[in-house]
């Protein structure tokens, strides 16, 4: 980028695609949460166990299923990261986008700790959301600080 107030197209495309991916996965997980365990089966590999993870005590925050929180977050993120969202000139939109990505990342950190150290099993669908959330944050760290004027401009 040569001017800090510009957002490169790759970032617009990447954040929109990642948000759509996160939205799709979290929508599926929310559906699966309310539909119950559709397939009453164990994977023949022991560590991967979605049913155990998604029915654990850590699968809810303040009584709200984490999958639903993820769905809500990605609904907002998809709007903010859409080409139309990126065109919004308001500063709060840019701050909200970056802040929400940070909150999502913090949540992912907690869920990874919960999966590995408390539940001791992982869910591949959850892992997919974690990867998408981290990738989204990485892309935003490349553009949002510049957009918000938080970094020094190139000499």
């Amino acid at each position: 980028m040569t001017e800090l107030n510009l957002v490169p197209r790759w970032a617009v495309a990447a954040t929109f695609v990642l948000s759509l991916a996160g939205l799709a996965i979290s929508a599926y997980m929310t559906y699966a949460h309310f539909a119950g365990t559709s397939v009453l089966a164990c994977p023949d590999t022991g560590v991967v166990n979605c049913a155990l993870v998604t029915t654990s005590a850590q699968s809810k925050l303040l009584g709200i299923p984490v999958a639903m929180l993820g769905l809500g977050q990605y609904l907002v993120m998809t709007a903010l990261n859409s080409p139309w969202g990126w065109k919004r000139p308001e500063r709060w939109v840019a701050i909200g986008r970056f802040a929400l990505a940070g909150v999502g990342f913090a949540m992912v950190l907690w869920l990874i700790i919960a999966e590995f150290l408390i539940i001791k099993h992982i869910c591949l669908w959850c892992t997919a959301v974690h990867v998408v959330t981290f990738a989204l944050l990485l892309v935003l760290t490349r553009v949002s600080p510049d957009q918000l004027g938080w970094t020094s401009s190139p000499e």
Partner: protein, 299 residues
């Protein structure tokens, strides 16, 4: 690098540092700081998890010692009264039970030799002792197979204490023997309750599992390749908090809600096995309970 038009895609120009050179180099952070910060947090997290995993003592392992099942319990499970099968049919209002699945194209009946080399239609089970869904399905499978032959050397088992529906009470097929004039039974318990490898499928078993259970889910049951079951037919939630003695003791009561679930599943399994044995023996395969299952399965 392509960029979006400045007027449409940029944040307000007044916020751009380029417009405020006075601030440059003072309190502003270098580009990439946030990216490296995020990466650093993940690296630290991974390091913490590895350190905690490496230094924490492993959880108490559940006993894997083989304990023969109580003769009383085995008798109750393998001698469910015919009147209970017929009274229940496939009606289990409190415990939803799914039907076994039928292959899209008709299949030749699977026949493997028994210990004496005698070929018969074969039921193949693959599961694991840690698996709560296998724990649930073994009840109905043992009940169904006991209508065609006799089990011995069933062992006590409970699913993993760290899995879904922990400690679901059940049996293990690890050392089980089964004798029947109508059907052979082949089983693999691929891991113990602590996820350690237990039995390894032979080439034929592996090929069958790979062909029909491409997701590698357990329990997997082939009823002579005429019907299949991947996953349990009812939720292990239904067995929660109950001992083997309590579950088995209720199997002669057709009004018991759990018994209705287990027996419905057993009737489905029986109907599937009958399809492989050519409806032999008649007193089992033509019984009202099995007929109800056949009707529901479209046989």
């Amino acid at each position: 690098m392509a960029t979006t038009p400045p007027k449409k895609n940029a944040t307000p120009a007044k916020k751009a540092p380029a417009k405020k050179p006075a601030n440059r180099g003072k309190s502003r952070r270098p580009a990439g700081l946030f990216t490296w910060l995020a990466i650093s947090v993940v690296v630290v997290l991974i390091a913490v998890i590895v350190i905690v995993k490496a230094t924490s003592s492993s959880p108490a392992k559940q006993s894997t010692a083989f304990v023969p099942a109580s003769p009383t319990v085995v008798h109750e499970v393998t001698n469910v009264p015919a009147s209970v099968f017929d009274a229940v049919g496939v009606t289990a209002p409190a415990v939803p039970v799914s039907k076994p699945s039928v292959p899209k194209a008709s299949q030749k009946v699977l026949e493997w030799p028994d210990a004496n080399g005698v070929l018969r239609p074969t039921v193949y089970y693959q599961g694991a002792e840690f698996c709560p869904y296998c724990a649930a399905e073994r009840w109905s499978l043992i009940i169904a197979l006991s209508r065609f032959g006799t089990f011995s050397d069933l062992g006590n088992a409970a699913s993993s204490s760290t899995d879904y529906d922990p400690n679901t009470q059940t049996f293990t097929f690890l050392k089980a023997k089964y004798v029947s004039s109508y059907v052979n039974f082949s089983s693999i318990e691929q891991a113990d309750v602590n996820h350690n490898p237990l039995q390894t499928p032979n080439a034929k078993q592996s090929a069958l599992f790979a062909e029909w259970d491409q997701n590698g889910s357990i329990p997997f049951i082939s009823y002579g390749n005429q019907f299949f079951r991947i996953g349990s037919s009812y939720t292990p939630d239904a067995l929660k908090g109950l001992s083997r003695e309590q579950i088995a003791g209720n199997l002669s009561d057709s009004t018991n809600l759990l018994t209705q679930g287990i027996v419905s599943s057993a009737n489905y399994a029986t109907a599937a096995i009958c399809q492989a044995t050519g409806n032999k023996p008649g007193n089992v395969c033509d019984s009202p309970g099995v007929k109800a299952a056949k009707s529901a399965m479209g046989i």
